[in-house]
């Protein structure tokens, strides 16, 4: 606390973060909230897509009796396309989360 108080040089965001000032906490809080929003969105997208399947089969029972390549459609849907869906959503999430981190890094290293 030997520094000269007063309007000297404005501190950079990086210094604000390192010193844990309220200003720095705002930067960090915004990143954490953005990441949480992204996680919830990705989970909601997956849950909505997969969760709507039983509803679909309930509302249109004719789908249950449909055969595709000799396999009943409900079994085929469960076995084949849902696992790649997990991978795709995971990849999209990863890309978006990295982009958010990158943006944050750009903001705090600016100047």
């Amino acid at each position: 606390m030997t520094e000269e108080p007063g309007p000297a040089r404005p501190r950079t965001p990086r210094e604000e973060l390192a010193e844990g000032t309220p200003h720095g906490d705002v930067y960090l809080g915004r990143l954490i909230r953005a990441q949480l929003r992204l996680s919830l969105l990705a989970l909601g997208a997956f849950g909505g897509l997969v969760g709507s399947l039983p509803l679909l089969f309930l509302l249109w029972p004719a789908l249950q009796d449909l055969d595709l390549l000799g396999v009943p459609l409900p079994v085929l849907v469960l076995a084949a396309p849902l696992f790649p869906l997990i991978v795709v959503i995971g990849l999209l999430y990863q890309r978006r989360a990295d982009a958010l981190d990158e943006t944050f890094r750009d903001v705090v290293t600016y100047e």
Binding site: Q35, S39, L40, A42, L43, F46, V50, D67, L69, G70, V71, P72, P74, V75, L78, A79, L82, F83, I86, I89, G90, Y93, Q94, A97, D101
Partner: protein, 237 residues
Amino acid sequence: MIAAAAVVAVAAGAIGLGVWGVRLARTTSDLYVASRAITPWWNAAAISGEYLSAASFLGIAGLAMKLGASVLWLPLGFAAGYLALLFFVAAPLRRFGAYTIPDFAEARLSSPRVRLVAAVVVLTIGGFYLVPQLKGAGLTIGSVSGTPYWVGVVAVAALVALTVALGGMRGVTYVQAYQYWVKTFGIALPACILLIHLGGLPERAALFGRELPRAPPDGLVVELDDPQRVEFPTNAR
């Protein structure tokens, strides 16, 4: 006899890899994350080895036999759990630089009590997870070697504890990756043989999800030497 020898060989391979992994497990970073030196493919094999556990492999097969094709929702749930793990555990922990959930909970919320709660939750879930695994171990080892149930439980628990204690995350990763390939082979080979033996995929798949195959009261024995017919009753329910 061959089955017991195979179990011993696989277990010996696991111990060997666990001991081999000991070389680098010296720091905290080694123990928990293998110093972040595990490549994605090794890690993927290790996690998939975890996925193909006694509960998911033997348990799902048994439940599908008992309840029908709707049990296929269960493995999907296991796999979807990895997505939740990525969103809410792996990514935040890595960004934060924490190794374990209790570490993260304490540092993020600055409360030792939260750490304790997190540790209790992790251990409780781990405990419940171990129950079907060790049950499967006891039943499997018992049925291949004729030992009492508890011998398999104790042997497998000791084996797992040994590999983790010796090699840390590095040892665990290599052991799990190795077991993944062993288990994939062990699942795929009998499945292919059975499919070929029972008339090929389209014929059986058409019945799958409609009717349940039933074994006679004294058990179903499939001889692999000559073709067999398995009867699928028309009114299974």
